[in-house]
């Protein structure tokens, strides 16, 4: 009980702001509009309607490749920076800026730069490329927006993780005969992989919930109609809160499933001894 008392404020906070609304949503999703009692009607309606069910595939086809791309590039950029580089502070500041600016401003910037009348297109037209590829208000636009938003966060997380690894490990591997690539594959990668898995899990969850970017730089009525948009339309266009709740629960389920897959692989690595130790710890 002595332990419980200091925890009380945070428990109340969680109960009031997370657990209660969450349970409320789950219960609401089981009470389809215009019916009495509980049923799975909303879920059936969602999965049986191709226009609705398709949003899962649309979201996954954005979230999964984007997660892989973001994490991969973050590793590629952060790894060479692990011992510090020139202008590191400037580079880091530039990379962090998108987090500070917020989604909408970033989306506006993307429209301004990559849009049909954006700087990039004008440059390409001036260079004589008459019919450049359309980069906004479609799948590509959303991919760019999500990357811009999530890369900095992923990069910073991995940079911290990678630079926390004792430089002497790398040095001893070198002296023992490992070339730089072998150092990465045999020493550094096994040590950073657990961190990469966590970064991937977080980016995936954020990607799967994509909403503003999908609306502002995507094509919300078609190829980037994500689950979040479906839930929004149910809630605020058709005012069908139970249906919206059901869609939100499905979305949460997918996010949890993604997490489970990533954490399963992480666990398997630790079972083989790879992830038994974190960065810098011995």
């Amino acid at each position: 009980m002595r332990i419980a008392l200091p925890l009380l404020p945070s428990v109340l906070y969680l109960l009031a702001l997370f657990v209660y609304p969450f349970c409320y949503g789950v219960v609401a999703s089981l009470q389809p509009r215009g019916t009495v009692g509980f049923s799975l009607g909303n879920y059936l309606a969602f999965f049986l309607d191709p226009w609705q069910a398709r949003t899962l595939w649309v979201t996954a086809s954005i979230a999964v490749p984007n997660t892989l791309l973001t994490v991969l590039l973050a590793v590629v950029v952060a790894y060479p920076m692990r011992r510090g580089i020139r202008f590191e502070r400037t580079i880091t500041t530039l990379l962090v800026l998108p987090i500070a600016l917020g989604t909408v401003l970033v989306a506006e910037g993307i429209n301004g730069f990559y849009g049909p009348k954006g700087w990039l297109n004008q440059l390409l037209l001036a260079a004589g490329i008459a019919d450049p590829t359309r980069l906004t208000h479609n799948y590509t636009g959303v991919m760019i927006a999500l990357f811009v938003q999530h890369f900095p966060f992923c990069f910073l997380m991995l940079l911290g993780y990678i630079s926390g690894i004792d430089p002497a490990l790398e040095q001893s591997a070198r002296v023992l005969g490992a070339r730089p690539w072998q150092v990465f594959r045999r020493v550094m990668w096994p040590l950073i992989a657990p961190g990469v898995a966590i970064a991937a899990a977080l980016v995936f969850v954020m990607n799967f919930g994509v909403f503003p970017s999908a609306v502002l730089v995507g094509q919300p009525a078609g190829e980037t109609r994500t689950v979040a948009i479906a839930a929004y339309q149910a809630a605020f266009e058709r005012y069908d809160m139970p249906m919206a709740s059901a869609i939100a629960v499905v979305m949460g389920g997918c996010q949890l499933a993604g997490l489970a897959v990533i954490l399963f692989f992480r666990q398997r690595m630790s079972a083989t001894g790879v992830a038994t130790v974190g960065a810098g710890k011995r």
Binding site: D166, A168, L169, Q171, S172, A173, R174, V175, L176, G177, A178, R179, Q182, R186, V187, P190, L191, G273, V274, A275, T276, V277, K281, R282
Partner: protein
């Protein structure tokens, strides 16, 4: 073990920005020799080791191993072994795989890896712990793995960077003996970096004392210990009594008499000190002994101000009649306030040129 190298010869300068960390440090290490770089932190000793390993690039200089220039080679191509201060064991690999690491990279057949790793683990007395992970080992065991991992690849030169400084006092002595035994048994060529003079003296064939990136003295442990050539080496090697003196009777490298006020000391000068020159008389506390004589060469009279009990010996701080304070280490207990006579043999008093003339 493959045949030992003939020699490792280098001349190295390293600057970080405007700061010169190593200033034209030149040395030739013979095959099977155990050489120690000794000095306080910041003297450049670890930088020198990292340059030899290839982990740092020299600003200027060359490294030659048996007639081949190796400084352009990356660390993995030098065939050296290195033991780090914090051991740097791979935390995700078992003891066996830590040791096998260098052999796997050299594409040694599996059976041979197992045989060689087994042999070297037996050599460092770790047989049976092959499947443990570094986190499951004590500091001393981790150190042994680090040494085994460096030895198993049969390095042409073994580099050791303060390998004992993270161990407690008892274990440090034990591992010091272990390193000495391995060096003798395997005929290794070793370069050892430390700030601990006792380690340097007990392990080395040759000691190089460094300060601010320059060699202050290089020689056998006895040379460094008994015949320091300058104030810095004397101070570092435990000559805790340093009296600024004026030479009264100078000469060649022989006997020199100097005085500071009422204090007169006779000693020997490693380098000529002329009459009237300013110098420093350096005396180890251990070289002073209590005496009942009241006059004679190098008999100093005074009163005990402070005593420290060390177990076998007693450290005294004695205020001499001349006004100087001297530290002595004696066998007998002496009460504070006692009037005592101390004596030091003239050959144990080192007369050095005053700093600046060094």
């Amino acid at each position: 073990m493959p045949p030992a190298i003939q020699s490792l010869r280098f001349r190295l300068t390293k600057r970080f920005g405007a700061k010169t960390v190593l200033d034209d440090f030149a040395l030739e290490v013979q095959g099977r020799e155990f050489v120690t770089f000794l000095g306080p932190s910041g003297c450049g000793k670890s930088t020198a080791l990292n340059l030899l390993a290839g982990l740092l690039e020299p600003t200027e200089g060359e490294i030659w191993l048996d007639g081949a220039r190796i400084d352009p080679l990356p660390p993995e191509a030098r065939g050296f072994g290195m033991v780090f201060q914090n051991y740097a064991l791979f935390p995700h690999l078992s003891v066996f795989h830590n040791v096998a690491f260098g052999l796997e990279l050299r594409r040694v057949p599996r059976a041979e890896i197992e045989a060689r790793a087994g042999r070297v683990l037996a050599l460092v007395q770790l047989s049976g712990l092959e499947h443990r992970y570094p986190a499951q080992l004590s500091g001393g065991q981790q150190q042994r793995v680090a040494i085994a991992r460096a030895l198993v690849v049969e390095p042409r030169v073994l580099l050791l960077d303060e390998p004992l400084s993270n161990l407690d006092a008892k274990l440090r002595l034990e591992m010091r003996g272990e390193i000495k035994r391995l060096h003798a048994a395997l005929g290794l060529t070793a370069i050892y970096v430390t700030h601990d003079q006792a380690e340097a003296l007990s392990l080395s064939d040759r000691v190089v004392v460094l300060r601010d990136g320059r060699v202050m003295q290089a020689g056998s442990p006895a040379d460094i210990h008994d015949r320091p050539e300058n104030l810095f080496v004397a101070d570092f090697m435990g000559y805790r009594n340093l009296f600024p003196i004026t030479v009264t009777t100078g000469g060649a490298a022989g006997r020199v008499v100097g005085s500071a006020g009422a204090l007169t000391l006779a000693g020997r000068a490693p380098r000529p000190l002329a009459s009237g020159a300013r110098g420093v008389a350096a005396v180890r506390p251990e070289d002073l002994a209590l005496t009942s004589e009241s006059t004679g060469t190098n008999v100093l009279k005074g009163r005990v101000r402070l005593t420290e009990y060390l177990g076998r010996e007693h450290d005294l701080e004695v205020e001499l009649d001349s006004g100087h304070t001297i530290k002595a280490r004696v066998a007998e207990p002496v009460a504070v306030g006692t009037a005592v006579g101390l004596r030091v043999a003239p050959e144990r008093v080192v007369m050095l040129p005053a700093e600046g003339g060094a």
